[in-house]
């Protein structure tokens, strides 16, 4: 069964304290891995798509990496405005490529 597991469930950081979020996936055939950011009361906001092991993408203080079994979202010198829930998703192998399987997310809090 296709599955996405994110850890930790919650992460509290001080401003400037770098860390990483993990997304482990089990899917028969990977057709991309998506990272989203979600703020309270809003819909998920697209961040990155990764397609193959070894691929990396960066955006401001965020860098996403991909291996054959997991993806990491590295946050360098975070700021309070980076506080949000970060979601990871992969397309279901048996469904359409738009059928995304989401993890439960990691809730990040960055304190000034």
């Amino acid at each position: 069964e296709d599955q996405v597991t994110q850890s930790p469930e919650a992460l509290r950081l001080q401003e400037g304290e770098s860390s990483s979020l993990n997304c482990s996936y089990t899917v028969s055939g990977l057709r991309g891995l998506f990272w989203y950011r979600q703020d309270p009361g809003k819909g998920p906001e697209f961040l990155f798509t990764l397609y193959s092991a070894g691929e990396e993408k960066e955006k401001e203080r965020l860098k996403a990496t991909l291996t054959k079994k997991e993806s990491f979202l590295h946050i360098t010198a975070p700021k309070p405005e980076d506080s949000a829930t970060y979601l990871c998703a992969v397309p279901s192998y048996g469904g359409s490529q738009g059928n995304l399987i989401f993890g439960k997310g990691t809730k990040l809090s960055v304190k000034p």
């Binding site: 989203y36 009361g41 819909g43 397309p91 279901s92 469904g95 059928n99 995304l100 989401f102």
Partner: protein
């Protein structure tokens, strides 16, 4: 460019009533998706439209849910009759890519509460 919009933002109905949620995708996006997040659980896929056709409806929970996308523009999701377990946040998303594999842009969601 306007994003994905959803209406209403919040709906409170009684068990047994009918509710219709509406989604307007980004203009020009052929792909439209519905997802649902039940409290404490992950976001779950409901269905995928390509224009007016249902590409994948494997996530629809039962026949109380009916999704339509007449004309390939906006979509509606009707729940009839609503049950308590239907409470949650319903998200709509759209994408331009034909295969639906590229980034999906989400709306703000409709919070449905069934009492």
């Amino acid at each position: 460019e306007a994003g994905v919009t959803q209406f209403p933002s919040h709906s409170v109905i009684e068990k047994g009533q009918t509710v219709t949620l509406r989604c307007d995708p980004i203009s020009g996006h052929d792909n439209l998706y519905w997802y649902r997040r039940v409290m404490g659980k992950e976001i779950k896929f409901l269905l995928h439209f390509v224009k007016e056709s249902k590409q994948d409806e494997s996530g629809m929970p039962n026949n109380r849910f009916l999704a339509e996308r007449t004309g390939g523009t906006y979509s509606t999701l009707k729940v009839q009759p609503a049950e308590l377990e239907d409470s949650g946040v319903y998200f709509c998303a759209s994408s331009q890519d034909r295969q639906g594999a590229r980034e999906q842009y989400f709306g703000p969601g409709t919070r449905l509460t069934v009492t």
